[in-house]
């Protein structure tokens, strides 16, 4: 078990700064998900913890100890790679016990560990097979078993589910949550998929262009996004955002906060538009509503409207968000907050 801390970390690739003066603390025993679009620096951070892509300057601390000069294999971390990085010439058993052998674990203990871990991930029947004869899901399990068997204090995962099909991915998400609960170690998980982030994380660290946009539990990230980027990155479909027309301020609301109706609403934000598309997803239906020269997505549990129908869309005041010119969210305590609400009436 270990906590991880980045102190003024900077990373350059070919003289280009990818990460600049980043500070972050990952608490012991948490499931932390680093999420962001590609190129945002999340994998770079993960590789710094592992020691396979050291920082240009600054320090990475594991359990309060600077690990900059400690070799990757001696940091007590294990990593699951996006392409699994399984040793193709070794059998499943050799793959799993390679790290143990290098750490001079006795043969009897090694065998016992390999057997128990492979039973836990369902690989017992494949121990003497070559990885190339196994499916993607099974290889994923080899990678997991290889990491688990070393009993690391930190688990690092770099988009481990991205090569699996949708159904298996959903299953593995649940397996990983259970695994984290069982082991209680620190998990650091990198993904660009906000669904994975929301479903598994204790804490989400949302990054963009090398900067941390927000660091909070999933509920907070969802309900109290710190800026427009966070608001639009998390949530499917993303938050509707448009200009308020007052001092560069923007307003936004989540698709499921909007109430569609055939009668005019009474809230400050109430508009009348036309349904352009309808996506019936089973438990819910998505509509794209055209209003003036813009459009909004709304999500409804009922399937009441048809394409080309004129509908009223209203959003409860408490579910409206406002963002300042710099993109940051304006808190409800802000002095002009009520004036922004009023401004919605003339939208």
């Amino acid at each position: 078990m270990a906590s991880i801390e980045f102190v003024n970390v900077t990373k350059e690739f070919d003289k280009k700064e990818i990460i600049k003066d980043l500070n972050l603390k990952i608490e012991d025993g948490t499931f932390t998900v680093l999420v962001g679009p590609s190129g945002c620096g999340k994998t770079t951070l993960l590789r710094m913890i592992a020691g396979i892509g050291p920082q240009t300057s600054g320090a990475v601390l594991i359990d309060g100890k600077d690990v900059t000069d400690i070799a990757p294999g001696k940091r007590g971390v294990a990593m699951v790679f996006q392409n699994y990085a399984i040793y193709p010439t070794m059998s499943v058993r050799e793959n799993i016990e390679f790290g143990l052998k290098n750490n001079k674990v006795k043969k009897a203990e090694r065998t016992e560990l390999v057997e128990s871990i492979s039973a836990a991930v369902g690989l017992t029947d494949f121990l003497d097979r070559k990885p190339s004869t196994l499916s993607g899901g099974q290889r994923q399990r080899i990678a997991l078993a290889r990491a688990m068997v070393k009993k690391p204090s930190v688990f690092l995962m770099d988009e481990p589910l991205s090569n699996l099909d949708a159904k298996l991915r959903a299953q593995m998400r649940i397996d990983l949550i259970e695994l984290h609960k069982k082991l209680g170690t620190t998990f650091v998980y990198v993904t660009h998929d906000q669904v994975e982030a929301m479903s598994m994380a204790d804490t989400i660290v949302l990054m963009n262009q090398g900067l941390i946009q927000q660091e909070a539990p999933p509920e907070t990230i969802y309900h109290e996004p710190s800026n427009i980027f966070v608001a639009q990155f998390i949530g499917v479909p993303p938050m509707n955002i448009d200009e308020l027309g007052v001092g560069g301020v923007k307003f936004g609301f989540r698709p499921e906060s909007a109430i569609g109706s055939t009668e005019a609403g009474t809230t400050p934000f109430s508009i009348r538009g036309e349904v352009v598309t309808r996506e019936m997803l089973g438990s819910e239906t998505l509509y794209k509503i055209n209003y003036k020269d813009t459009s909004f997505m709304i999500k409804s549990l009922e399937d009441r409207f048809t394409v080309n129908q004129q509908v009223y869309v209203s959003v409860p005041t408490e579910k409206m968000y406002f963002f300042g010119e710099d993109g940051n969210r304006i808190p409800t305590s802000h002095p002009s907050y009520s004036s922004y609400i009023e401004a919605l009436r003339s939208y």
Partner: protein, 292 residues
């Protein structure tokens, strides 16, 4: 209807026909002709005077000292060239596998001997290895090291030829191995680093198995090629001094006018030896080679 069916049956044979004619004419026919010749005391002046002697030529070969001498020479040469070339090109390939500009230049430099004619290479080395005026002894003398008689002594002649062959071959095999090394996914090395593997262990347990198909390929190709060595011997020593560098093909060549039947029989023996060696390689090594 029946014509259509006939064509249906003939078509595959017609399709492979041109290739088969080529193979038949240039591979199968010469091979059988070689075996046929080896059974005769062949007369080049008048074919009709040739005499069928059965296995006499073979019996003669297996009973002659000079054949065993050249067979031993060939084995020594092959072992020297294969082991040195494999070891050196692997070493250089590991050194050059990082993609930098300097490495690209060095690699081009090492590859250059491969594009030069072996005749020119042999001549230049012949000149450099000249004992009293040659460049190599000049350098050795300059460094205060003992000089060598190189090609002029039966003790060092074989070594000298091996040096030239290795020098010429290294660049090509380095190129193959560099490509193989660069084909290994870097994440595998990162995974190994996280598994706390030492450098030696990574090389033995990961790198070597991953490039084993290429190493095996080089081993087979080089063994076959070295057993058939001719040009360096012909130009640099002519089999001498005192038969010290007389190899099998050169041995065959020396009978090209005097005894065709005997030369043909030696050729067949050489072919059988190479065939047996290749089979042994496949039997012994196939399990250690990891094809993906």
């Amino acid at each position: 209807m029946s014509r259509g069916k006939l064509w249906e049956k003939l078509r595959p044979y017609v399709m492979i026909g041109p290739a088969m004619i080529g193979i038949g004419l240039f591979v199968i026919y010469p091979l059988f002709y070689l075996i046929y010749l080896s059974l005769f005391k062949f007369n080049l002046m008048n074919r009709n005077m040739s005499k069928f002697v059965g296995l006499d030529n073979y019996i003669q070969i297996l009973g002659r000292q000079d054949f065993y001498k050249s067979l031993t020479n060939t084995v020594v040469y092959t072992a020297g060239v294969v082991i040195l070339t494999l070891a050196l090109s692997l070493l250089i390939a590991v050194w050059l596998s990082k993609r930098t500009r300097v490495n690209a230049i060095v690699q081009a430099g090492i590859f250059t001997p491969h594009i030069i004619s072996i005749v020119s290479v042999s001549l230049i080395w012949l000149w450099m290895m000249e004992p009293s005026l040659g460049f190599l002894n000049y350098i050795l003398k300059g460094l205060g090291l003992p000089t060598s008689q190189w090609l002029q002594s039966s003790k060092s002649a074989m070594m000298s030829i091996i040096i030239v062959s290795v020098w010429q071959a290294i660049g090509y095999y380095t190129l193959i191995l560099v490509a193989a090394l660069q084909g290994v996914s870097p994440t595998i090395y990162e995974a190994a680093a996280l598994d706390n593997a030492s450098k030696v262990k990574v090389f033995r347990k990961i790198t070597l198995p991953l490039i084993s198909p290429q190493l095996f390929f080089i081993l087979i190709i080089m063994t076959i090629g070295s057993f058939k060595v001719f040009d360096t011997v012909k130009i640099m020593t002519g089999g001498g001094p005192n038969n010290a560098t007389n190899t099998l093909v050169y041995y065959i060549y020396s009978y090209r006018t005097t005894n065709i039947g005997y030369a043909a029989a030696a050729g067949v023996v050489l072919m059988i030896i190479i065939g047996i060696l290749t089979i042994i390689y496949f039997r012994l090594m196939a399990k250690k080679v990891h094809y993906q």
